[in-house]
């Protein structure tokens, strides 16, 4: 099959198949199921990479940003599934990857898609840097989100005193908390830098006053505010892990809203 013909359906289907094998493995553990799941997931990641390389969807579009974010999470998923084969990492990562891909499909551009431009001037460079920083912050939030969901499941199991080893294997609360903390500690400076670069760009383009009213800009600022709150609650108020996990999930929801919000003032 020519690589130009790789579509979102190819990798979405591969991820879905990987998910099915993973679910079967959880129900009836068989090493072969885990192997099939990893192969299907790897095939999905390969098709996803080919699609991004060939189609080069623009970072500033909902479609492009969601697909790129899904791709980075898929990389995390795939390497996680290889290195943490005993835990249920894939079971939490795959739905997120699939969800992001499906969300991207909803925003598939009509007609000619905007592609990643070749950097020709400083303005474009700063634009790409702004998008990349926000995207990498998004990856941190996604990892934090997965760790938080796992944390809540594990905490619930401990609360009701489920026998150890029963149900899906999960990492310890401490490990999940560290994963969440590291992901957010990494995401915050990236998000801050992304927002600052965005502000400078708005200043240069002379759209500072009306630019603040853009849904994407508002979303990013609210997300930054939630981050500040999260960091304060973690390091200042020593909030319990469960509440921090819930707040991280809120941050993730905000990220999704920001990603799918249409930009009214900035053309893609």
């Amino acid at each position: 099959m020519p690589i130009e013909r790789v579509t979102t359906l190819c990798f979405a289907a591969s991820y879905a198949v990987a998910m099915i094998f993973e679910l079967v493995h959880q129900y009836r553990p068989r090493p072969i199921m885990r192997l099939f799941s990893t192969i299907a997931g790897g095939a999905g990641l390969f098709a996803h990479s080919v699609f991004l390389l060939v189609q080069r969807p623009g970072l500033s579009t909902q479609f492009g940003s969601l697909l790129l974010l899904a791709w980075i999470v898929a990389v995390f998923y795939w390497f996680g599934s290889l290195h943490r084969s005993r835990s249920s990492w894939s079971l939490f990562a795959l739905p997120l990857v699939l969800g992001l891909v499906l969300l991207a499909v909803v925003w598939t551009p009509m007609g000619t898609a905007t592609t990643i431009p070749v950097v020709q001037n400083w303005e474009q460079f700063w634009g790409i840097l702004h998008g990349s920083l926000l995207l990498l912050a998004g990856v941190g939030i996604c990892v934090g989100f997965m760790a938080s969901v796992m944390y809540l499941v594990q905490a619930q199991r401990l609360k009701v005193k489920t026998p150890p080893g029963k149900g899906i294997p999960l990492l310890s609360l401490e490990r999940l908390e560290v994963m969440n903390r590291r992901a957010l500690n990494l995401a915050f400076p990236l998000l801050t830098a992304g927002v600052l670069v965005g502000a400078i760009l708005m200043l240069q383009e002379g759209v500072l006053e009306r630019g603040w009213l853009d849904a994407k800009v508002i979303g990013s600022l609210v997300l930054w505010g939630v981050f500040v709150l999260l960091l304060y609650l973690r390091y200042g108020a020593h909030l319990p892990g469960k509440r921090l996990a819930i707040l991280t999930i809120v941050a993730f929801a905000l990220l999704l809203i920001t990603l799918v919000s249409p930009s009214t003032h900035f053309a893609p």
Partner: protein, 433 residues
């Protein structure tokens, strides 16, 4: 194949008699050597605290020695050996012994190694014990083709049962469960503090398990400072005065409480004062004291994970009940593997006879052809020779087809029990061993 298992286990014989029948490190090699010398058979002795079993076998039926074909005689012979070796009257042990032969013996070993015949179904120790018994017999050169194949297959069966069913899921000892819970909360222990409250004997095993996690430090407190010092000395910890309990609770990550106090020593109000000073750090409290030392209301599954003795016992029962649900699936695997082993063994056993038979008939055919060639060399063309050779090959194949098919059918229908056909073939075709 002639295989026999003679022995006893926890559900047949009382521990007082079982311990007299067991083999220790010194007597086990001696017993192996003695069986080998007396009966010239392959032997593995499995001796654990729950069972004593002799696995004896021969690959072929015609090697003489003890009359294993008469199963009951064989069983009695080894029952006598057990009694004689341990200086016990046969009448005292015989009613409590069981014996299994051939296919049933294979099934029995597969059930044992899968811990289906264990006191605690699904326990993991037995697989290692069977492996060590086999290795010791190999070291003493007491294992031949049959027991090599059987015990290696048994290892695979044990692994399959454990990985494909939930029979070995979870722990069932209180101390292991306590450690499992600590591992669900914490990832590493080299930066953790364990606090031991009280000096109850109940906690000794749990503390030993916790120490195996290599925590950074162990604090010990007790109403009697002298007792705290004593426990601290035993476990390499630091004693603390009783009035510093709250401070210790602030520092601790894992608490093991085993006091004999009649009332809870840490109620909700007292713990509410400790909690804010912990800066949101999680704590695992293992309250194995009866009556309980900690108010169960402090458990939230996030910052405070409290497990008392009732929780741990309830979880143990649930784990055992869960394991029991997998017994049918495990038995099915055992049955499958028993059939597979017997088929493989029969194929192997028949394979040797078929090879000998084919080689014998082939050598005879070639000898006849050779003689014929010498007699009629000039009179027959090369094309005609080729036809004669092909015709004799076809004749050989047709002659052998009957016996070979009969062997396969016999193995399918009667397994390894029926040796008459093999004996008949040996005699009819004058096959040498």
């Amino acid at each position: 194949m002639m295989l026999l298992v003679v022995g006893t286990s926890f559900n047949k014989m009382d521990v007082s008699l079982r311990e007299r029948l067991s083999f220790n490190e010194a007597s086990l090699p001696r017993a192996l050597d003695e069986i080998n010398a007396r009966y010239d058979c392959e032997t593995v002795i499995l001796s654990t605290c729950n069972r004593v079993e002799l696995y004896v076998g021969r690959s072929t039926v015609d090697s003489g020695g003890w009359p294993l074909s008469e199963a009951e005689t064989g069983a009695r012979l080894f029952a006598e050996f057990l009694a004689e070796f341990h200086n016990l009257p046969l009448v005292e042990i015989e009613p409590y012994l069981y014996s299994h032969h051939d296919a049933e013996a294979v099934r029995h070993l597969f059930r044992v190694v899968s811990s289906l015949d264990s006191l605690v179904v699904g326990e993991g120790q037995i697989a290692g014990q069977v492996k060590r018994a086999y290795e010791l017999a190999v070291e003493r050169a007491c294992v031949g083709p049959l027991l090599h194949a059987l015990f290696q297959h048994a290892r695979t069966v044990g692994g399959r049962v454990r990985s494909e069913t939930g029979i070995a899921q979870g722990h069932v000892s209180i101390s292991s469960l306590a450690v499992d819970y600590a591992c669900q909360v914490f990832d590493r222990f080299d930066d953790k503090t364990v606090l031991v409250i009280g000096a109850g004997k109940m906690g000794a095993l749990t503390l030993r398990h916790l120490r195996s996690l290599q925590p950074r430090r162990i604090l010990v407190t007790n109403r009697s400072y002298a007792k705290a010092e004593e426990v601290a000395k035993e476990c390499g910890g630091k004693p603390l005065p009783w009035d510093q309990l709250d401070e210790a609770l602030v520092q601790a990550d894992i608490v093991l409480s085993t006091t004999g106090a009649r009332e809870p020593i840490v109620d909700r109000a007292r713990y509410a004062n400790v909690l804010p000073k912990r800066n949101g750090r999680a704590i695992v409290i293992l309250d194995i004291a009866v009556p309980r030392d900690f108010d169960p209301a402090i458990h939230d599954g996030d910052r405070t994970c409290l497990f008392n003795i009732d929780d741990l016992k309830r979880i143990r029962e649930r784990t055992l009940a869960d394991r029991r649900q997998h017994i049918a699936a495990a038995e099915h695997i055992v049955e499958q593997e028993k059939i597979r082993f017997l088929k493989e063994w029969n194929r192997r056993k028949n394979g040797a006879i078929i090879t000998r038979l084919t080689e014998d008939v082939t050598s005879k055919r070639l000898a006849i052809l050779d003689r014929l060639r010498r007699q009629l060399d000039d009179e027959i063309s090369p094309e005609a020779w080729q036809r004669i050779e092909a015709a004799l090959r076809l004749f050989q194949n047709q002659i052998l087809h009957g016996p070979i098919s009969a062997l396969a059918e016999n193995a399918r229908e009667h397994g390894s029990h029926d040796h008459y056909l093999l004996d008949a073939l040996r005699k009819l075709f004058r096959l040498q061993d």
